[in-house]
């Protein structure tokens, strides 16, 4: 670990800046948004999982007196097979548009077909029933292995498999296949004394954010489009709108309202372009709100997957080879997070010989979207279960086998990157030293499980400006929407530089016209990258204020220093002025001071976590109770420890839900049968013990305070940790998620 730095603000736990607004109900969310002349939009969705759209007749709906406009895919600019570039690689524009309003085919139940704007939400709902759609219903395919079969129903006639640089010659549901290779896999397995090979299946799960998607759009007669909405990234919405509507980016302003959760699910747009089309058609502002069923059926969940893992180790515990095939469902259009899964699958371990194959497969489900460390949880469920089994076969403690093989600085991951300083080993040591690990674990049907996880984290573009107020406070202007307390964690980094309390920084999240480009709040990047920009913008403020002090004192700028909130002169004259006093004198010394910084930092630094869980299995009912949960995680440097703990606890809870209950349940027609929070069961606080979040700090060399993103990796280990604990409790290896009572009773042979 590096030398201990003394911080005044970093590492403290101030009240978040948005807290009072949120607990007093003053914060404005999308559903709260009002504007004069507002119409209400409603989307008609496909009742079929797979159907050709023969015709759409909107005349009866249009004739309804309360209806002001109806739109279908015909209202979207013709999307030839052009590629759209949204910064994350090219995607087909047709696919992008078809997911907003289906043109030729409905590819999942809930697929948007048409939309109505009316004078009330109820009329809009009723008018949807007046739209006559003729479908030619086709057989659906819902599971990746079935979708890969040669006689499977084909979703896209024009889709050809792109595999290792070659393009297939006939229609297929396999959008792509890629491979990462390191070392000599055969040699690796030859060296192994024990080889374990297992298959895993995971279910489709949803992020389950509280607030449904929403958008209000207004077209001004001058062609200016404004969209108020809930999003993880206003600039991403602007880009997607520009592509989908084929509209100049400079004519679009996106105003992010408060956001009630996203977890990756509020990056892609759904109702935003629809609201824009309706606004254009009616000339009025139009608000479109989803309900919960719309959210489950019409927005991206994270994929189900079919995974095989084969790993070999020597008798003394060295893992010599690892091989996997990751088959992920993309949903209706290509683009699952299998690539990210492949980056993470063996990432915690330094293994010489590795082969990773990834497959992206389309099925008749909503197009998948990111969800907290997308792909990594699926992958880790496989790897961490097999590592547990290796440890058991070799009679090595499960933490020890991870310590023996754990990746360190300088090790190279199979997909290429070489690790900078990382803290995986430290998370294992923290778990080993935790009283939880030493506590007794021998009761009947009680079990303990261990699993680790990795997420690479990202940097990307962020912009921050800081306006200095005459009372010594500053207004911090940022483009990162605040989902998990980032107003606080970003403001604190500026406060530390400026030597002022966190409360003296007023952070504001602004629209796309009011700040430089800022990428999404996602990839665990915001406290890292936007925080870094805040740090740099604050440095810019200090630099400019030094010049003002020099002017006041008539000294050379180089002779002004700044420490602990005080400017002082270091040569000759004994002068001193506080940040606060100087901020009152900016007018007279040359005008306001605005600090600014934009950046795209490369050193995000990966995040590692190790979890220990105790469970009790009720062998009669199949229910699994979580008795105790400890999560250790390398945060690099915890800016606001409460929010780091909150991220860890939140991620663990979602991971537990994924492990034990959550899944999309489909009938044979391909209809989701549990599109509500009643039957899509996320755990509540009463289902869980307090989750002990242990912050490990191995500073990230790529950030001035050592920050690593913390938001995603905590969801990665829980399913494997719980599966390993269930094995410890009842001797059964669960290889299918969720590990619901029904499945567990079946696995135990009880039913």
């Amino acid at each position: 670990m590096s030398e201990k730095k003394e911080y005044k603000v970093i590492g403290t736990r101030p009240i978040r800046h948005d807290g009072v607004d949120k607990v007093t109900g003053r914060a404005i969310y999308g559903a709260d948004f009002q504007i004069t002349g507002l119409l209400h939009g409603r989307v008609l969705r496909s009742p079929h999982a797979h159907a050709r759209i023969v015709s759409i007749d909107t005349s009866r709906a249009e004739a309804h007196p309360g209806v002001k406009g109806v739109v279908t895919a015909e209202d979207l600019p013709a999307a030839e097979d052009k590629m759209a570039d949204l910064g994350e690689g090219a995607v087909s524009l047709k696919y992008l548009c078809d997911n907003i309003l289906a043109s030729d085919k409905a590819l999942y139940k809930g697929h948007a077909i048409a939309a109505v704007a009316a004078t009330s939400p109820h009329i809009a709902e009723e008018a949807c029933e007046l739209i006559d759609v003729e479908y030619e219903v086709l057989p659906p395919v819902l599971e990746v292995r079935q979708a890969m079969e040669s006689d499977a129903p084909i979703l896209h006639e024009n889709l050809r498999t792109s595999s290792l640089g070659e393009t297939g010659d006939k229609p297929s549901n396999i959008a792509s296949h890629f491979q990462h290779k390191k070392g000599d896999i055969d040699k690796g397995f030859d060296e192994a004394d024990v080889i374990i090979e297992r298959e895993f299946v995971t279910g489709t799960v949803h992020q389950g954010y509280i607030e449904p998607h929403n958008a209000t759009a207004l077209y001004n007669p001058d062609g200016q489009l404004t969209v108020w909405c809930s999003t993880q990234g206003a600039f991403t919405v602007r880009e997607q709108l520009a592509e989908i509507l084929q509209y100049p980016i400079s004519k679009i302003k996106v105003v992010p309202l408060e956001i009630g959760g996203g977890f990756g699910g509020k990056i892609n747009v759904y109702v935003k372009p629809v609201a824009a089309l309706l606004a254009k058609k009616t000339g009025k502002p139009v608000k479109v709100l989803m309900n919960r069923a719309d959210v489950f059926e019409g927005t991206g969940p994270t994929p189900a997957s079919y995974i095989t893992i084969k790993m070999g180790a020597t008798n003394d515990g060295k893992i010599t080879a690892a091989q996997t095939s990751l088959v992920f469902e993309a949903g209706a259009y290509p683009g699952s997070p299998v690539g990210a899964g492949a980056m993470c699958v063996f990432a915690p371990y330094n293994i010489e010989n590795v082969v990773i194959d990834g497959y992206d497969v389309v099925v008749n489900k909503p197009k998948t979207a990111p969800y907290r460390a997308p792909g990594a949880t699926n992958a880790a469920f496989g790897t961490e279960t097999v590592v547990d089994e290796l440890a058991e076969k070799l009679n090595i403690d499960p933490l020890e086998i991870r310590l023996m093989n754990g990746a360190k600085e300088g090790d190279r991951r199979a997909d290429g990157p070489v690790y900078p300083r990382i803290g995986f080993i430290e998370t294992l040591e923290a778990a080993k030293e935790h009283p939880h690990y030493a506590s007794p674990n021998g009761k009947k049907y009680h079990g303990r499980g261990i699993a680790s996880g990795f997420w690479f984290n990202i940097g990307l573009e962020s912009s921050v400006t800081i306006n200095v107020n005459p009372d010594g406070t500053v207004n911090l202007v940022e483009g990162s929407t605040d989902i998990g307390g980032t107003r606080a964690s970003i403001a604190m980094q500026a406060a530390e530089v400026l030597g002022i309390p966190a409360e003296s920084v007023n952070p504001t999240v602004v629209d796309t016209n009011s700040i430089g480009y800022t990428a999404v709040t996602g990839g665990s990047r915001t406290t890292y990258a936007t925080g870094y920009a805040a740090y740099e913008a604050a440095q810019d403020v200090v630099q400019q204020m030094k010049a003002r002090a020099a002017k006041l004192w008539d000294v050379d700028e180089d002779n002004v220093q700044f420490a602990d909130g005080e400017f002082s002169s270091i040569n000759g004259k004994e002068e001193q002025i506080s940040f606060r006093d100087l901020s009152a004198r900016l007018g007279e010394t040359g005008g306001p001071v605005i600090g600014r910084a934009t950046m795209n930092p490369a050193g995000a630094g990966g995040a590692f976590a190790t979890h220990v869980v105790d469970v009790e299995v009720d062998v009669d009912t199949g229910k699994v109770e979580i008795l105790r949960y400890t999560a250790t995680q390398d945060a690099g440097k915890a800016i606001h420890p409460s929010y780091v703990e909150g991220q860890i606890q939140g991620g663990v809870v979602q991971g537990i839900g994924w492990a034990l209950n959550e899944e999309y349940i489909y009938n044979d027609e391909g209809e989701m049968t549990n599109a509500s929070f009643l039957d899509y069961r996320m755990p509540t606080c009463l289902d869980l013990p307090m989750i002990d979040a242990v912050i490990v700090e191995v500073p990230n060399p790529g950030h001035p305070y050592g920050v690593r993103g913390v938001g995603e990796v905590p969801i990665v280990p829980p399913p494997a940790a719980i599966a390993n604990a269930i094995y410890d409790a009842v001797g059964i290896r669960m290889t299918e998620l969720p590990m619901s009572p029904d499945r567990l009773l079946k696995a135990m042979g009880k039913i």
Binding site: T673, P741, K750, I751
Partner: protein, 282 residues
């Protein structure tokens, strides 16, 4: 939600004559009805609130320990009533299992029963309490035993215009227990619900009543299992036999919540557990 006409009558007579109209629905706490209206599974043209009619709520206990519960009594009151906790523990436990405190402060016991979900949480407790359901209409009053109220999922013997006024619990039990088999601790519906109640005499089971929810088209009593128990000294073997007999009496469905086999297996397990706990409470 479809638009509808709304009435707030202040007498039962007025309510039941309005209710006799076509496409009318009663509004008690609204926690089933309004959800259904939003989902378009309920599209009443007329909604009649019972909330302004005096005298339909409250819990009273007579000298002989028989208890009446007004139909408009909030399930939260049922849960917290000391008399119900003492003489009909299973019913208080069932009430305490509904949704969340916020829901229980709105939901009524009358709505829970009239909605006739096979999974309703107060139904097993009312079955083992041998409750009488008092019904009023413009034509007069009648009373049916709770186990004759239900005719199918969402269906009862209630005729248009008939309103449940109260539940009378005539047979206090010396020990009873309800288990809701669910996945989540709160905000979940019963995969199955089992209540057992026993009265003991000199170490022998004088009478046993077992109520089962969500294992058949209507909630049922496991009469064979009950008969097996009565007059016998409780032993683990006896409880196991009762569990099997109760499971045999069910005809559960497989649905997305649970497979039929799982439900049958759980009836066996939970009948044993609730009986044991009911005995422990005597």
């Amino acid at each position: 939600m479809k638009s509808f006409e709304f009435f707030e009558p202040t007498t039962l007579a007025e309510a039941s004559s309005l209710f006799a109209q076509k496409h009318a629905q009663l509004l008690a706490g609204g926690t089933d009805l309004v959800i259904g209206m939003k989902a378009y599974t309920e599209t009443p043209e007329t909604v009649i609130s019972l909330q302004k009619i005096p005298g339909l709520d409250g819990i009273t206990t007579d000298n002989d320990k028989s208890i009446s519960i007004g139909a408009m009594t909030k399930v939260r009151q049922v849960e917290l009533s000391e008399d119900i906790q003492q003489y009909h523990t299973a019913l208080a436990e069932g009430a305490s299992e509904i949704g969340s405190i916020q829901i229980r402060n709105l939901a009524t016991i009358g709505g829970n029963i009239a909605h006739a979900s096979p999974a309703a949480d107060t139904v097993a407790g009312l079955l083992v309490a041998d409750a009488q359901v008092d019904i009023a209409s413009a034509d007069g009053e009648r009373s049916v035993p709770i186990n004759e109220l239900f005719t199918g999922p969402g269906q009862t013997v209630l005729k248009p215009g008939e309103i449940i006024t109260q539940f009378r619990l005539l047979h206090p039990a010396s020990g009873s227990h309800y288990i809701k088999h669910k996945i989540r601790e709160v905000m979940d519906l019963a995969f199955i619900g089992v209540a057992s109640a026993v009265n003991m005499q000199n170490g022998v089971i004088k009478e046993a009543r077992i109520g089962l929810a969500a294992v058949a088209p209507t909630p049922i009593r496991a009469t064979e299992a009950e008969n097996l128990l009565s007059g016998k000294t409780p032993t683990p073997e006896l409880l196991a036999q009762a569990g099997e007999a109760a499971a045999a009496a069910t005809s559960p469905i497989s649905d997305l919540r649970c497979s039929a086999e799982h439900r049958k297996e759980m009836v066996d397990v939970l009948t044993r557990r609730t009986l044991q706990n009911a005995l422990d409470r005597v």
